[in-house]
Amino acid sequence: MRLTSANTAIVLDSTADLPDAADRFASWRVVPLYVRFGDESLRDGVDIDAAEFYERLRAESVFPTTSQPTPGDFLACYRELGAYERILSLHVSARVSGTFASAEAAASELGDGRVRAIDTETASAAIGMLALAIQRRLERGTSDEEVDAFVERYRRERGLLFTVDTLEFLARGGRIGKAAAFAGTLLHVKPILSIRDGEVVPVKRVRGERKAFAELAAALETETRDEPSFRLAVAHAAAPERAAELEALVGERRPHAELELVVTLGAVIGAHAGPGTLALFWFRDDE
């Protein structure tokens, strides 16, 4: 089957941190995860936006938890996209969330084979960049096989580096994985982390915010080139100054590369990374 932007829809979940996805393309939708403060359950990006979330995180003593969309949530979204012959449902790494499992359950419940749920094995802006790259292929016409091969390449080649203020949030949410060893010392060690095979992994530790920033800057120098085929993204959690600094650095050092997205980590990813998180994403795509 030939997939085009007219017959193929893209469904993201809110961990892609693109709350305006449906405004970008008429064929895009976002299914929200849930963030819970005590018994209050809120839809990420719908009932609570990033700014409100970080404000509540600061103000309240209760620690938020998150939960994946129900299969019913996905089913409703897929039904709404009934006019499309193919739905590509792109989701946060199944190693850290059951979101993909919910999407798959809904896809099989629908039973018409229209939906292909994809485990992106990554999170946040890296999902958005993947969606944009797939959309570019849909505009010119593509196929399921080509999308599969492309997703496989994306999983291997996309780069991402992030630093968090503290590992406490990752640890509390249970998403810390192998990075646990970097946790808590007296010397304010800043972990430099990545996501590999769908899991958060430690890359390096440095002391101090400036040095953590310098690691992201170094990755920009060594991992990317100043060419239009290099696509970049910046994400942050309640750290607009740092994000602006990184964005300025990208503009200065990589003026010809494509800075595709600058996003704020929404409530769900923010609840697991914590305020102060800063991330750089890169991927080379000639299309």
């Binding site: 059951g98 010397l187 400036r210 040095k211």
Partner: protein, 537 residues
């Protein structure tokens, strides 16, 4: 049975299953370490079953296939979390089989339903893992098939299955390493058995005894994930004649959070997190007699849970560090930096008190690692370090020639115990080389420095071993040292205060004003002779 009868029966069964699960909800949350240790399995399963309960509560009587379909669908639509999604498939498997039944439900049909549930659950998971809800439902199906050949009442079979399920859950740590390491049983499997316990109770009309404490619960270590601001988890049962659940709940509400009051007029079970368990119990004794009182200190429990959830495998480090360090505070800094990523032995000593070669050899030999890295942290210790390394025949030892405590700390940030000594040494030497070190001490005699006379007892400032400032004002002298250290742009300045604490008043403000971009960290080092050590990197 009539359509109305079917609906009533299903309502009763779902209600009983839900109540059983709700009672264990927080225990199951606490067990949750797999697949993601986020402590919400009990909550997710409860929310999923609640969705079913709400659907059947408002459903209209219809034929069996329609009712089965409604139940399966509501479980799917309301499924929360991974465990909820798997449960929804289990419900679907059961519903599909029972939908075809034309008469009452006996053991053979129950066995077929469980088999259908097990198959549906396995189909839903791409890479099935043993030691989870999946193996528990499969073992239940197998046991049901074994027992169903004997004629018996359905209730008897269900009771036997609950027992078997408890055993299956108890075995999950043997099947899944993550569970064994965390010292828990599988949360999803435990939830599944609680549901079954509720069903068995509803069918037999008798409470099916809870699992042995050692199996089902961490017992007195019962732990809570909730980040409650209250200290005590308080649980008790009130027995009386005409207990008013709503009223008791309203009264308890003022005392804390995580409040759950369940039961009937004759007995209410209370769960509340509070700072005043006595007051909560008094509310119970005011309306009836209380028993089954459990009060647990959650702050303690949270610490325990944290420890259990730190699933870093405690494997032997490939390389370890021996560091020569003066001062208790500095020792602690070295240890907290190294221990999370490997292992370290600190030997006390430094400028004046150089450790002997024998002391270093003893530390190297005690190191629980295959290879060793030595941080002398002082030029005078280097020779002893070299001799010690030569005497170690069976263990490769690398020396990273750090000349100061701040340089040693910078080197240690780059240490990773999973790497070999040589690889570490290269990285660590690079990190240490990027540090400029300063010291502020007292002049032990009158000296002449750059035309400035420094009297014995005055402050003397050194940058990378060279005297650069002196005088009777600590802040001035230190500022002179910092100016030298920051001749090249630096991001971070670490100040380690000595056993004789330096007068830091005014210095930090002055630094912040002069170097607004610089991050400054102050730690108690406790080293003798040097009231202040500085590292700029």
């Amino acid at each position: 049975m009539s359509a109305e009868g079917d609906l009533e029966l299903v309502r009763g069964l779902v209600g009983a299953a839900l109540a059983s699960l709700e009672a264990s909800r927080s225990r199951i949350d606490d067990l949750n370490v797999y697949p993601v240790p986020d402590g919400d399995t009990g909550t997710n399963l409860t929310l999923t079953v609640r969705a079913v309960a709400e659907t059947v509560a408002s459903a209209e009587a219809g034929d069996r296939p329609a009712l089965a379909h409604a139940v399966a669908r509501s479980a799917l639509m309301g499924a929360r979390g991974n465990s909820g999604v798997i449960l929804s498939q289990i419900v679907r498997g059961v519903a599909d089989v029972l939908a075809e039944a034309t008469n009452g439900i006996g053991p053979p049909l129950a066995a077929r339903a469980l088999r259908g549930a097990s198959d549906a659950a396995y189909r839903a998971v791409r890479r099935p893992v043993e030691g989870t809800m999946l193996s528990v439902i499969r073992e239940l199906a197998e046991e049901a098939e074994r027992r169903a050949v004997e004629p018996q009442p359905l209730g008897d079979l269900l009771v036997e299955l609950v027992r078997h399920g408890d055993e299956a859950v108890a075995r999950t740590p043997e099947q899944l390493d993550v569970l064994r390491e965390a010292g828990v049983v599988d949360a999803g499997g435990a939830g599944l058995v609680e549901l079954l316990r509720g069903l068995a109770g509803a069918v037999t009309g008798e409470t099916v005894s809870a699992a042995p404490a050692a199996v089902a619960s961490p017992g007195p270590d019962a732990i809570h994930l909730e980040q409650s601001r209250y200290r005590y988890c308080t649980v008790f049962v009130v027995e009386g004649d005409a207990l008013d659940r709503d009223e008791l709940e309203a009264q308890l509400d003022a005392f804390g959070d995580s409040l759950v009051v369940v039961g009937d007029e004759a007995a209410l079970k209370v769960h509340v997190h509070t700072d005043d368990p006595g007051a909560a119990l008094s509310l119970g004794t005011a309306v009836g007699t209380i028993e089954g009182v459990e009060i647990a200190n959650m702050h303690e429990q949270q610490e325990q849970r944290k420890r259990r959830l730190s699933l870093v495998p405690s494997t032997r480090a490939k390389s370890g560090v021996v560091a020569v360090v003066a001062g208790e505070g500095n020792r602690r800094l070295f240890e907290t930096l190294a221990e999370p990523v490997g292992t370290i032995r600190v030997v006390a000593g430094g400028q004046i008190a150089n450790p002997s070669t024998a002391e270093l050899v003893a530390a190297l030999e005690a190191l629980e690692a295959d290879e060793a890295i030595i941080l002398p942290n002082n030029p005078n210790v280097r020779l002893a370090a070299e001799h010690a390394a030569e005497q170690l025949e069976w263990r490769p030892a690398e020396i990273v020639p750090t000349e100061s405590i701040p340089a040693g700390l910078a080197a240690l940030v780059a240490y990773d115990g999973t790497r070999g000594a040589a690889e570490n040494a290269a990285e660590m030497a690079g990190a240490a080389a990027a540090v400029a070190t300063g010291e502020v001490t007292r002049a032990s005699r009158d000296v002449e420095l750059n035309g400035l006379a420094i009297r014995s007892g005055d402050w003397l400032g050194l940058a990378d071993g060279e005297a650069v400032a002196g005088g009777d004002d600590f802040a001035d002298v230190t500022f002179g040292v910092v100016t030298r250290l920051l001749a090249q742009p630096r991001a971070l300045l670490t100040l380690l205060t000595g056993a004789e604490p330096p007068p830091l008043d005014g210095l930090l403000e002055r630094l912040a004003a002069a170097y607004p971009e610089l991050e400054v960290e102050v730690h108690e080092g406790g080293q003798p002779h040097y009231p202040l050590l500085l590292g700029a990197e």
